[in-house]
């Protein structure tokens, strides 16, 4: 109320100063012209005329200043292009002459003013990252440093007003450059989207575009993604290069070795030597000074004391006999298995006879006591006359029908009883499954390793895989040059069936295989395919899941695959026996 009146008095427009004054005077005379906020002033807050005059003088001064400032800068710009870098608050100092001094001072003043103006200008409020060519009427062409959004002040009319109180026309900047137009559109869209999502949640049934936009769908944006730099870590390519070099060296070494071997003819030894380094990390035998089991009974950490006699700790040697905890053997059954009782035929018959007799006797008792009704007479066509003699004479048809009905009922009961005891298809399937499945947790898993020269025949591969699945066996198959290893795990019956499949049913000899040797590269004459059982035995638990084929490009990969399952020794055996066989053939 009072504040607004004061504010109004402070309002100033550099252009319409006189108008403003006129307005003010008018308002003073028309106190109750119905304008908002104009109320009776308190005595304390009434401004004296002197104060008012003062303020008017101030305002005029400011107007003059402003006019001057706005007129001068364009002229200055032609002389001092340095001014274009506005962000530098430091004024570029010009060397000595007085006129230059004055100019410098003026430059500094102007800079400050321009900065302040730009800071409060409308463009700052819009916060656009524009290339800074502002065409605000009357203002400079300099680039503004960081257009911070200044406070948006509105006067009573609702017009935007800057910090000093002067009305500003909010200028809409319309870019002319295509890139800038696009940028502006993007901005607008962004703000729209931001606003739209909020509004949609609040206003039900708003007709904004975002209702038809599904955020779940990842639609390709109409704009192209910006191509950015992909930075690599320092030294990455050096590492890759060194790795490649090492690999090349190793390969060269290996080929050299094999060449030399062929020349000197020590085949088997080198073949084994080639196999050997691949069998993981064999550390060189360590030299130690003291075995740990001796160190327990020694006083110091050496075998002999100073006098050359073994320095024994006498207290460790006693006549105590240890009884360690006895561990249960893995194949020991946890609960004693009860032997099934086998009866002879005579015993079985006697057993059935006695139980049936007992049941019948009991039933008879109940009938005699009257607890149960006596059973119906079992009438057949043959004893019809005997049982139902009188009634039969009177009405034979009915009686015969009755008897036949009884017979039919008896037959139906019998058949129903049979049918109810019969296994359903599902039960039959389950029974068959149960027969095939074997419990391998208590007695250990039987494992077999087969080695095949060539596994390229798809029908044989299918047979291997499907039989393993149907017999509920686990395992894995590795395809590698001419050492294809198939490992299967299961119970003894399953193993027997699988062995018959691999060694008898599948005719491996039908296939002729061309095996390309590792070192020569030229293919050998065609030989017949074959399959050998490398090993069969038992282990504590299964190491594999369902049988799947794995193609391995090198021995190292194959060994690694087996090592992951903990059974690299299976691969070692298969591979070494293949190598040895090869050398023996030669």
């Amino acid at each position: 109320m009072a504040t607004t009146s004061i504010k109004r008095l402070k309002e100033e427009d550099p252009m319409d100063g006189a108008e403003r004054e006129a307005k003010k005077l008018k308002s003073r005379f028309h106190d109750d012209s119905g304008e908002d906020g104009k109320t009776n002033l308190d005595n304390s807050e009434q401004l004296s005329s002197s104060q008012i005059r003062e303020m008017m003088l101030n305002a005029q001064k400011m107007i003059e200043e402003r006019k001057r400032s706005l007129n001068q800068p364009p002229a200055l710009l032609k002389t001092a292009p340095v001014l274009s870098s506005l962000p530098t608050p430091a004024v570029p100092k010009a060397p000595a002459p007085s006129s230059m001094d004055e100019r410098a001072r003026k430059i500094a003043e102007l800079q400050a003013q321009i900065q302040s103006k730009l800071a409060t200008s409308t463009l700052a409020t819009l916060n656009l990252n524009l290339p800074k060519t502002v065409s605000v009427p009357g203002s400079t062409n300099e680039v503004s440093s960081e257009p911070k959004p200044g406070p948006l002040i509105l006067n009573a009319d609702g017009r935007t007003v800057d910090a000093t109180g002067k009305e500003i026309a909010l200028t809409q900047y319309t870019p002319t450059l295509k890139a800038n137009i696009r940028a502006k559109k993007r901005e607008v869209l962004k703000t729209h989207m931001g606003k739209g999502s909020h509004q949609q949640n609040e206003e039900a049934g708003s007709l904004t575009e975002s209702r038809f936009f599904d955020p779940r769908v990842a639609a390709k944006s109409a704009l192209r993604t910006r191509r950015t730099f992909h930075f690599h870590e320092q030294g990455k390519f050096q590492q890759v290069a060194s790795r490649m070099r090492m690999k090349a060296q190793l390969d060269k070494l290996q080929s050299e070795i094999s060449q030399i071997a062929r020349k000197t003819g020590i085949n088997s030894v080198t073949a084994l030597a080639l196999v050997a380094p691949r069998i993981g990390d064999r550390k060189e035998e360590e030299e130690i000074d003291l075995e740990w089991w001796d160190s327990v009974i020694l006083q110091t950490r050496s075998y002999e004391g100073e006098d050359g006699q073994p320095n024994l700790r006498q207290e460790t040697i006693t006549n105590l006999i240890e009884h360690p905890i006895q561990m249960r053997a893995p194949t020991d059954p946890l609960s004693l298995p009860y032997l099934p009782v086998f009866l002879t035929q005579k015993e079985r018959k006697k057993l059935r006879r006695t139980t049936r007799r007992e049941n019948w006797k009991e039933k008879q008792e109940n009938i005699r006591l009257g607890l149960e009704p006596p059973p119906q007479a079992k009438v057949r066509i043959s004893n019809l006359m005997r049982v139902l003699g009188n009634e039969a004479i009177q009405d034979p048809t009915k009686i015969e029908a009755h008897v036949r009905e009884q017979m039919a009922k008896r037959l139906q009961n019998h058949q129903e009883a049979n049918a109810s005891r019969k296994l359903t298809a599902e039960q039959r399937r389950e029974k068959k499954e149960k027969k095939l499945q074997e419990d391998t947790s208590t007695t250990g898993v039987h494992v077999s390793i087969y080695r095949v020269k060539d596994l390229s025949n798809l029908s044989k591969k299918f047979k291997i895989e499907t039989n393993a699945k149907q017999l509920y066996m686990t395992g894995c198959a590795v395809i590698f040059k001419d050492v294809n290893v198939i490992i299967v795990e299961g119970g003894p019956k399953q193993q027997k069936k699988y062995k018959r499949l691999m060694l008898n049913r599948i005719r491996w000899e039908e296939d002729l295989v061309k095996i390309s040797k590792h070192d020569t590269g030229s293919s050998q004459p065609e030989t017949r395919n074959s399959c050998q059982l490398v090993w069969e035995g038992t282990t504590k638990q299964r190491n594999f899941g369902d049988l799947i084929f794995k193609l391995c490009p090198s021995e190292v990969v194959a060994r690694e695959h087996f090592r992951k399952h903990g059974v690299e020794h299976y691969w070692d055996l298969a591979y070494s026996s293949a190598v040895l066989e090869e050398t023996e053939e030669k």
Binding site: W293, L312, I317, N319, I321, E322, T331, W535, D572, S577
Partner: protein, 432 residues
Amino acid sequence: MSLLSGFAITIDDGEIRRHLRQLGEPVTLFGEGPADRRIRLKDLLAIHGNDVIDRKKEDDREVAKQEKDQSETTWYHEGPESLKIARLWLAYYSLPRAKQRLSDFKVEMETPESTRTAKRQEMVKHMRNMNIMCSQVGDGRPISFCQFSPSGNLLATASWSGLCKLWNVPECTLFHSLRGHKCSVGAIVFHPQATISLEPSELNMASCSMDGAVKLWNLESEEPIADMEGHAPHRVSKVEFHPSGRFLATCVFDHSWRLWDLEQGVEVLHQEGHSKPVYNIAFHCDGSVAVTGGMDSFGRVWDLRTGRCIMFMEGHLKGILGIDISPNAYHIVTGSEDNTCKIWDLRKRSCIYTVPAHTNLVSSVKFEKSSGQYIVSSSYDGTAKIWASNTWQPLKTLSGHDGKVMAVDVSPDGSFIATASYDRTYKLWSPE
């Protein structure tokens, strides 16, 4: 009538007697027949209640459980004074030998790597050329064991007929036969100094058999010079001499193994610890440690000086039948009924490799005696196989036996391998 019809008593006389004993009643009265006994049991059950037998069974079960709980901890008991004497002697014997071995090893390591690898390659080539040299019918019954003498010119075989024979090695002619056992002989072993420094009239050999008899022999007479009693009626599967020659270990089927001091003439140690019969034993070259394998699929390493079990070898699925320690003092190999051999490292106290050795059970494994560069394993699939001891890969398969191969041995100089088989023959193998 119908009250008693649901309650049945067995007709089996043996069970009726057992039930009566369980109830604490006299099993048979004067002049009582089986039918009368049954009626008496029926009356007793009617008096005491039908479930009295079950109740008694539960009590028994509880007592058994209490006993089992007691065996959940390691406990000790005092042995004879002679045990302490023996242990002290063993300590003083083994420590210098260990020191010597380690310094020898260091010296050996100083030879350049290339010479060592060259030697190994030589050995590999040697082994690859192993082939059958001679075969001889040993006996009328299957031959269960064979061992070379420490000098390498005699081979001892033991058979299921109870007869042990000594053969000259390259000629395969009978040298001597030893009569005395009444049933199948499990093993016959030479004293470490036999044929080298011992007199032929001294104790040279020991053998054990299925009825628990352990007999000591010399090279002259055909009768045993001594009998060791104390094992019967349990079967003794293996005897083994300590490297010093003073002690003799026996593996007994009462789940224990025993150590006998031949100088003091007593049994100094009766060691339990396996939950099933102990099948085989091997001594460390230093003389400080012994390793036993049992039918419970566990191997145990015992320190002979302190009497403790210092390593527990768990990993096999079925019983361990063959066991041996390498001359390099830290590799142990075990052969088992589950068709695999496992290699254990005594320094690391773990299993370092599993060799899927044969397609039937592995009956015996032996390290090469001088440097432990290869292992020979024999199996019931009729073959013996040679494996390199650095990579554990197969070097050669020695096939030729018709039946199961029951035992294998390597001669001390490495020139021969002998296999004894179920087909009543033994064969010698050597490189061509």
